[in-house]
Amino acid sequence: MVMLMKRDLLDILACPVCKGDLSIEVEEEDEKEIIRGRLHCEKCDEFYPIEDGIPNMLPPDLRD
């Protein structure tokens, strides 16, 4: 079993650009981890996707 994104991680994550707080929209989770969803920075109006339990926190201009 792969260790996926835990809810605990939310307490320490911030927007990589403005370092502001993030809100979360969960699409899929189990008892331990968030598997799919996205994090939202209200200030930057930017979304950071969570796929296969991995939060993609790259600044938008560095994504593929």
């Binding site: 260790m3 994550l13 927007c15 990589p16 370092k19 991995i54 939060p55 560095l62 593929d64």
Partner: protein, 210 residues
């Protein structure tokens, strides 16, 4: 201290570095031990003053060689590992299940004062702006905590220097220290280290306290 290296290295473009690592990740674990030994890793962990249950961020976890050393000290659940290459991480995932965050060293996606330590091994040589990356490590650790970086040492031999600099960044000890000072670190410590007797000064470990 010069800034001429900014235009020099092939891998300093982040997207190019990511493509490179996609392929490099396949052979990395065979090549890396030539330059980076367990003794070097243990020294990095020691200089970070890591103890059980500290929450630590590793900036540039790669395939997990240094993560393994950090985990031994603090426990796997307490490490948050970050890398800009998902392909390097997938190699790490074959060994153990890290708390992984896909992100950029110079734009850390963490709140201020979150960690009891920060470690970065063999990553700084790919950062286009090392000063910014070091400032980010400073920002995310708690006051009194240590941040440790190990990176390549500038070769003294002119030919090797030219060869090294044409692919990546090789800072001098003085550059490492200046970046740490400008980031605000105190009690800065420097160790020149290598994997064997011929390469005693291949790498530099820098540690500083917030």
């Amino acid at each position: 201290m010069g800034w001429g290296w900014i235009d020099m290295g092939y891998l300093e473009d982040k997207k190019r570095a990511r493509t490179f690592y996609r392929y490099f990740s396949k052979i990395y674990d065979y090549i890396n031990p030539i330059f980076y030994s367990k003794e070097m890793r243990d020294k990095v962990v020691e200089m970070g003053r890591l103890t059980r249950d500290m929450r630590v961020v590793e900036v540039g976890c790669g395939t997990g060689f240094t993560s393994e050393g950090i985990i031994k000290a603090i426990g796997i659940e307490n490490l948050v590992a970050l890398d800009q290459s998902i392909h390097m991480y997938k190699k790490a995932k074959e060994k153990f299940h890290l708390n992984f965050v896909w992100g950029d060293a110079e734009n850390l996606p963490f709140k201020d004062d979150m960690f009891d330590g920060a470690i970065s091994a063999g990553s700084i040589e790919y950062w286009p702006n090392p000063q910014k990356g070091i400032e980010e490590m400073y920002r995310v650790i708690k006051p009194g905590s240590w941040a440790v970086i190990i990176g390549p040492n500038k070769p003294k031999n002119t030919f090797f220097r030219w060869m090294a600099e044409s692919i990546m960044l090789f800072p001098t000890v003085e550059e490492y220290v200046t970046w740490y000072e400008q980031a605000g670190f105190k009690d800065i410590e420097v160790v020149e280290i290598g994997p064997n007797r011929l390469w005693k000064r291949l790498a530099v470990i820098v540690a500083g306290k917030k």
